[in-house]
Symmetry: C2
Subunit: 229 residues, 2 copies
DNA sequence: CCAAAAGTGTTGACCGTACACCCATGA
DNA sequence: TCATGGGTGTACGGTCAACACTTTTGG
């Protein structure tokens, strides 16, 4: 049986992670300034190589865990990039993943060790290889997905206010919504629950905190979801 | 520089193609009965291995061309499958592609040579490895895509009638639409043009032929497209 | 002349959109 | 007390969904 495979080529397989976070009203990416070759000193995505006995998903999880110390992260396979010259060092096929992170929940020391920084999607520098293309691809997918799945919540703390949620959606979709319509729409969907507690400090009146209700969402999610607004 | 890669593992990379066609009101898949090992005699998707100096897209094109003799095919990368034991013979990472074909436009001899057959998506047999999962994945993506992009037209001949188009959409989405609303909706989008010619033979009255107008579509496509009906 | 398939029109319900008013509170 | 941000309500227009009538023509 093995004979069948003998004359085929083998390849390095990399996994590169586009890591999104949300902070101060800005959608941000976690990028690293490489302190290793190749392309030392340049900006890039966090990545690594697939190992034997590891799925792509696990490789992505491992890479994310290394960098952030977080293990329960929303993560999705994006696309396989395969231009023969995409990595000038060697032929490497890269599978991009994108991940959504709650910025404040994790270990800043690890990030510093890796020379990583949160950078606004509005100010993305030139990245190595085809990483800029990967990022653009990820942003498109994120925009698309937030319209049809409630994954946006993965970027917010457990308790959030409606104005915060709106700011997140505006940062992702890069457009602004009417405050009243946004609130009406999101509430009518019925899968966020208002808490007693109000947010203090930011505004005078204070906004109610809400929690995402995954169970209610799952009940409703079969008929689909369109956040066109 | 090469030192960096030295201790990493290398992998076989396969490309498997989920090939859709539309015939006699049925959405069909092109499957092959393997006349080679491993898994000789079982049903599977058409696939092949990635070679040096070849992108994944090109590998998929090559495989499709081998099987169908067609080179201009709508094709899209689907997903990378990487379970370590997915192929019992060797560790193989597979990137699935799905393709849309006009069934009557191509070479039946090639298909027979490969032991391939068109099989309705309603009667998909057990396939090798994780190919059933790939197929399900492709069907989901096809359903999703036909709702937001006019790719359905890739499955019809150049000239088609509205009832044919409706039958296609019903086969893909696995539900039925109201004839009048379907026609109204599709016409209101404005990217199909009616021809003078009418279809003869099938119905007494005869239905007008239409052509897909890619240019008009491109003009409109920026604001998005939702075929929820 | 009738049956079968195709073309076109009408209506009510719902949803997206635009817009206005009131409330709570820290400064 | 007033400026700022937050919560809620209304009214219009367009689109989806349900439904009926007319047209064409092969048998």
């Amino acid at each position: 049986m093995v004979a069948y495979y003998r004359k085929k080529d083998r390849f390095f397989i990399a996994v590169d992670c586009i890591i999104f976070g949300f902070e101060e009203g800005e959608l941000k990416l976690l990028l690293i300034k490489r302190n290793f070759d190749p392309a030392k000193g340049k900006w890039s995505l966090m990545g690594g190589f697939l190992s034997e006995n590891e799925t792509l998903d696990l490789a992505a999880k491992r890479i994310l865990d290394n960098l952030t110390g977080l293990s329960k992260i929303y993560m999705e396979q994006l696309f396989g990039f395969s231009q023969p010259d995409r990595d000038p060092g060697e032929r490497v096929i890269s599978v991009a993943y994108y991940a959504l992170i709650r910025i404040n929940e994790f270990d800043n020391k690890l990030i510093e060790q890796h020379g990583a920084e949160w950078i606004s999607v509005k100010e993305i520098p030139e990245l190595i290889f085809d990483h800029n293309q990967m990022v653009q691809n990820a942003i498109n997918k994120l925009q698309w997905n937030t319209r049809y799945k409630p994954i946006g919540f993965e970027l917010l703390p457990e308790k959030f206010t409606i104005p915060e949620l709106q700011a997140l959606y505006e940062a992702i979709q890069q457009k602004s919504y009417d405050r009243r319509n946004f609130s009406k729409k999101i509430l009518s969907m019925g899968f966020i629950n208002r808490l007693e507690e109000k947010q203090k400090g930011f505004s005078k009146k204070g906004a109610y905190f809400y929690k995402f209700d995954k169970q209610k969402y799952d009940e409703l999610s079969e008929k689909g979801f369109d956040f066109k607004l």
